[in-house]
Structure formats: C-alpha cells, structure tokens
C-alpha cells in the first residue's frame, strides 16, 4: 500500500498524478558502509499541485528530489512520469521528460553562469532546444519571461550579469530560466532559504502565480515548516526523517493537527512572530537532541532514541509503516497506530 493510494481525497480531478515516486530508495556507499539516504518513499504530484517535502538537514530531501528530476537513478523503486517509468524511456523521450521537470537550486549564484548576461542565460536554452526560431523570437520570449517573474521593466535586467543582481533578483532569473522549457513540474530545493523574509515572500507570491496561471506543479523542498505552510497550504506535505517519510497529508492537517511525534516536535519548536504566543507554547518533549547516523540507524522506529513517547519493546522492535491515521493523512508510528491520531500530546 502506498501513501498515494490511500489519499484519494486529494487526487486531482483527472485522478491521475503527473509524477509518482513508487517505493524509491537511494543507497550510497560511504566509508561507514552503505546508507539508505531515501528508503522506500512513495509520493505523487498532481498537475498544478504543490507537494512539500520537509525535514531536517540530511533527512534525504535533496536525494529524493534528484531522483524525481531524473538526475540520479533510484537503487530500487520507480519514478513514473505520465504513467511511464522514466528509466525505461528512449533517449529522446527521456530528454523531453528532463525538460518537463526543472530543478531550481538554493543558491542561484552557483547555478547561473557568471559570464552570461541575463538575456544570454535565457535565450541559450530557448535556441538550443528549438523552443523558438531565431534570435529575435528568443529575445522576445526572454523579455516575456522576465515579466512573468516580476523583473520589470525587463530592459533594466536583460543586459545585466548575475553579480549585478540581488539574491532575490537572481532567484527570479533562475526561475525564469526554468520556465524557458515550459516545465510541468518545478522542483524548488530550498529556493528561498537564502533570501530575506520580505523578499522571500515576494518570490513565493510569484511562484504561487506561476502555479495558478501556468498550472505548474511543484515539489517544494524546505526545512522551514512555516514556509511550507504558506506556499503549500492547498497541497500536501511529506515529513522526512532519516530517509523515511514519517508523516504525510494535506498541509493544513500536517501543520495544525500533526500526529507523528517527530512532526509535533518540529512544529512546537518553531518560534512564533508573536511575543505572547511564542512564550506560552508547549513543546513536545524530546529525550535527546542527537540525530543518529544513517550508517547506524537505531532498530525499529529510527526516531525512538529521541522520542518522548518511546515505549520499550514496541518502538525499538519493528520499523513502523506509514499507515492511514485519518482520512488523507498517514503516519509511521506504533503508538499513533495503536492509540489513534487524536490522543492529546503527552
């Protein structure tokens, strides 16, 4: 049973997800031995939907995203796009797939070519992939794309180099470049984490408009749950811990009614921009702050050495499976599975 199958309520009208990660795992060989950076993850993205992937550093978000983008091949499991396993595609179709799924990185400075003007950055892929015919048409399209990402008037930006732009402007250029090939899905990997609050919100508003107007789906990766909440409110959120999805469901449920002790701990730990509220918040208790190493995962539930609700013999036995705990919401926790989702916090 996959989490996807269990969440019919949030499938889109056509009922067919655009992309599905079906039990994908990624194993890396490291000095400490093989590690499962992603372990049997099931996810799906519907057309125009936002799927948020949240979790602490090292939980496997980028590894999962790279598999979704076809940048790395899963050790096991399948990445399906439009109903086909992408690794069974012919070269040409695979190239089309890669165009349909665009990756926007955390640091646009590192991903933009410093020797190219913004115009060159945008026209190069247009011409290379034959999206438009001729330099004139490419220039016109570049102009249009800058308008789409709110870099207006475009003539102020076309002849600039990346170093002449602010962080927020560079990230907009990176998004414009991702749009050159009319993608169906944008993978935004911590794309706004380096930006200041106010600029972050305006970039997110721009991305939200692309989602609504162009129907682009998003795999939106962030360690900041408040940002996931803001951008992914109408979509779904998956919480990852040490390579596994531990909770999954509609974003409002994950944020306002989390069930897994790890999700609860994350939400409780976030300070609020409100002095009275933030000082009276109760926190899910933790037994330890140490994150175990992927090379030496604790037996049973990987969260058990830290979990305040740990039960001897139950939690360190079998690995808990992701099962439905409420309509559309699933969690991988023995105690939630036994007691139900609506037990108050311990």
């Amino acid at each position: 049973m996959t989490a996807v199958d269990e969440t019919p309520a949030v499938q889109d009208a056509s009922g067919k997800p655009l992309m599905t990660l079906d039990g994908v795992s990624q194993v890396f060989d490291t000095k400490a031995g093989p590690i499962r950076a992603v372990d049997q993850a099931n996810l799906s993205i519907n057309p125009g939907e936002v799927l948020c992937l949240v979790g602490e550093s090292g939980s496997g978000k980028t590894t999962a995203a790279r598999m979704a983008a076809g940048l790395t091949r899963p050790s096991s499991g399948q990445v399906m796009f439009d109903g086909t396993d992408i690794w069974s595609l012919k070269k040409r179709d695979f190239r089309d797939f890669r165009r349909s799924v665009q990756y926007v990185h955390q640091d646009p400075y590192a991903s933009l070519n410093p020797t190219r003007t913004i115009q060159q950055t945008l026209t190069a892929p247009l011409l290379k992939h034959g999206v438009v015919k001729g330099k004139q048409a490419a220039a016109e399209r570049a102009y249009e794309l800058l308008t789409k990402v709110d870099l207006t008037p475009p003539e102020n930006y076309l002849s600039k180099y990346p170093h002449q732009l602010s962080g927020g402007q560079r990230q907009r250029v990176a998004v414009a470049r991702a749009l050159t090939l009319d993608p169906k899905i944008i993978i935004a990997d911590e794309s706004t984490s380096m930006l200041d609050v106010s600029i972050r919100i305006s970039v997110l508003a721009m991305l939200g408009r692309l989602r609504d107007e162009l129907g682009v789906g998003f795999l939106f990766i962030t360690h900041d749950l408040a940002i996931a909440k803001y951008f992914g409110w109408r979509g779904r959120t998956a919480v990852m811990y040490l390579g596994r999805i531990v909770e999954f469901g509609p974003t409002p449920r994950i944020i306002n009614a989390p069930t897994h002790p790890y999700t609860r701990a994350l939400i409780d730990a976030i300070p609020e921009p409100d002095p009275d509220l933030t000082r009276t918040k109760n926190a899910e208790s933790l037994r330890s702050l140490e994150i175990p190493s992927l090379a030496h995962l604790p037996p049973g539930c990987a969260f058990h050495p830290r979990c305040g609700r740990f039960e001897d013999g139950l939690c360190d036995g079998d690995v808990p499976q992701l099962i439905q705990v409420r309509p559309g919401q699933s969690a991988a926790c023995h105690v939630v599975a036994r007691d139900g989702a609506d037990e108050p916090a311990a």
């Binding site: 602490e56 106010s198 972050r200 900041d224 701990a265 976030i270 300070p271 609020e272 921009p273 002095p275």
Partner: protein
C-alpha cells in the same frame, strides 16, 4: 547590579543606569580606490542591566558591523567613531572606543563577549575544546588548571552538554548545535556583563535551534547578563527579546519593548517586516512583502533612506531624514521611531480567508 531577567521591558530614564550607552556611533569601511562607505550611520542606544535586546533587519543593514564595532573587533579597513560608554558593575565608567592594549583585551572577555556568526570559524580546528577553554581563561586570569576545569565543566553543563565528552572533542567532532552551545559556554567563562550573539541559531536545524534558544533562556535566568542578539529572524526576537531595535541602512529606525514592537509597530519598515513573517499556528496567513530591496550604502536615497520602498512616503520624505524620537511619554515604555508619518502606521493582524 542586575535586575530580574523576567522584567518584560527596559526601564528608560528610570533609576537604573544603562550598562552600555551608545551615542552617535558610526562605522566606516575603506573600500578600494580610497573611497569609504558608512555601514553604521549614527546609532544611539542604551542597554540596561539584565536586558535582552534584539537587533533585527535585512541582510546588509549593518547588524554584524555594529556588534563588531562595539567590541572593537572590526577588520583593519573598518573604523568606529562616536561615544560608547560601558558602566561596569563596580561603578567605573569605560570609554570603549578609547581603550587599547591590555585594557581592551580585558574589556573584551570580562566585560563584554561576542559569539560570532558562523560557529565553525570561531574555533581552532586542531585544538580540543579543553584547549580552547584553557587558552581563553589563561589569557585573562590567573586561574589554576583545576579551577579552569571546574569552571568549564560548570558552564558546559549549563548549556546542557556533558563536559566529560565535550572537553576531549575536536570542534569538527561536534554537531552544529553542540558547537554553538560550546561557544556560548566559552563566551561566559569570564562572566561578562554583556553578551553579543550574532545570528546564534541561523543555519541550525529547527530542533537544534530550539535547544539553543532554551539554553539561552536558562543561562540568562541563572547568570543575569545583558544580551544583544543579532538576527534576521523576527520570531526569534519575539521569543528572546525584552526590547527590539530595527535597523535599516545603518541606522536604528525604531526601538521599543518587544510587545509594542510586535503588536504596535510604528515604523513602516518594522511593520513591513512583521507582515512578511509566516506564523506557524493558525490558518493561511495573509502576508505582504516590502517592494524592492535595501539601498546600496554607496548611493543612499536622499531624505529618509526607506522612502523608495515605503507606501506611506510623501514628497517630504525625500527631503528630511527623520531622527529617532520618542513617541510615548509613559515611563518605562520607551518606544522611539524615525518616521515623519508614524501616526499613520498601524498593524492589523489578519488571516486570509
């Protein structure tokens, strides 16, 4: 001479004397080709005993420069001017900008200490934590080995670390959150009265960040030092500060008690920052961003430097650069704003439908 750390707000003009009194404080950096930029452009600020002050603002507004300048830790091309007076607990008054040599070293760890942005760079990678603790103590005191061991262990326990384990570790063997807590412990070795923390939780995972925040709450309650913490994270300010100061383009443009600042901000920039922070509780928030970005220090706008981004701006704002003035007479409720239209600025808290 500390007041209870639980006091919600600084008492200005009250009986207490400020611990740190800063007047017309400026920092200039020399850049290439003989030009200079002013990164801190005349700051007036008082820090009271036991108080926790948050300095917030967008990247590049001068927060780190301000902290470094206060402790005289600026790089060679930086120069601080103005008046910084430190009133030691024993009654002596220190002119911080006039200190040099031994007195300056003395001031730096015993009176005021700083935890820098980016925890890893602050360590010598080939020295164990024990070595860091001993070096710091020996450079400033005549403490015996035994005394240093005890003091270090006490502080490490205070920041919830196991001394037995941590003292024998190299910096790279510790997690980011552990290193940050070690730095906090180290900065407190010589019992400074002021601790400056620059982005103490940035780049830490959320649960680790929470532990550092909790540790700061605890040690401050125990030891009662004053703190200036620099952060671009407004929620952290809401959580940790008694008082908040907003910085914009090298100036403080608003300062007040934490509740006033979050519930009744009166500067359009502070208002804008607050409206851009997504809360985690509740329904979908209705957020707003501030258009544009901070100005270049080399080409500041005329008049109020915020005017190109300000939706309250009028023609007058392009001419006058408003000074920071008090907007309340209530004793103990100091709230100062640098805006000529502050009477029009009101925060309404809303959620999107």
């Amino acid at each position: 001479m500390t007041v209870p750390v639980t006091s919600a707000r600084a008492v200005r003009g009250g009986t207490g004397k400020p611990l740190l009194s800063i007047r017309d404080f400026k920092v200039e950096y020399r850049t290439g080709s003989g030009t200079t930029v002013q990164a801190v452009r005349g700051v007036d600020l008082d820090l009271y005993p036991g108080e926790s002050l948050a300095l917030v603002g967008e990247s590049g507004c001068g927060k780190t420069t301000f902290g470094l300048g206060l402790l005289r830790l600026l790089p060679r091309l930086g120069h601080a001017s103005g008046q910084v007076t430190f009133n030691r607990g024993d009654g002596t008054e220190i002119d911080v900008l006039g200190l040099d040599g031994r007195d300056l070293r003395q001031f730096r760890w015993r009176d005021a200490a700083m935890v820098f942005q980016g925890a890893m760079n602050a360590f010598n990678p080939v020295l164990k934590i024990r070595g860091h603790m001993h070096d710091t103590m020996r450079a400033h005191t005549k403490a015996t080995k035994q005394e240093i061991e005890e003091r270090a262990a006490e502080l490490l326990r205070l920041v919830r670390l196991e001394p037995e384990r941590v003292m024998d570790s190299y910096p790279h063997e510790l997690s980011g959150g552990m290193r940050q807590r070690v730095l906090i412990a180290m900065s407190l070795l010589l019992e400074p009265e002021v601790l400056i923390l620059d982005e103490p939780t940035t780049a830490l995972d959320i649960l680790t960040q929470r532990s550092v925040v909790d540790v700061l709450h605890e040690v401050r309650e125990r030891l009662g030092f004053s703190m200036i913490f620099i952060s671009h994270d407004l929620s952290l300010a809401a959580e940790l500060a008694d008082r908040v100061a907003t910085m914009y383009a090298g100036r403080i443009i608003e300062t007040g008690g934490v509740r006033d600042m979050f519930y009744k901000p009166r500067h359009p920039y502070t208002l804008g920052l607050i409206k851009a922070v997504p809360p985690i509780v509740g329904d979908l928030p209705d957020l707003e961003s501030i258009p544009g970005g901070p100005p270049s220090l080399a080409a500041l706008p005329t008049g109020c430097s915020f005017h190109p981004r300000c939706k309250f701006a009028t023609d007058e704002c392009q001419e006058v650069d408003p000074p920071l003035i008090p907007i309340t007479d209530e004793p103990g409720d100091a709230h100062d704003v640098a805006c000529i239209h502050s009477d029009q600025v009101h925060l309404e808290r809303r959620t999107a439908s």
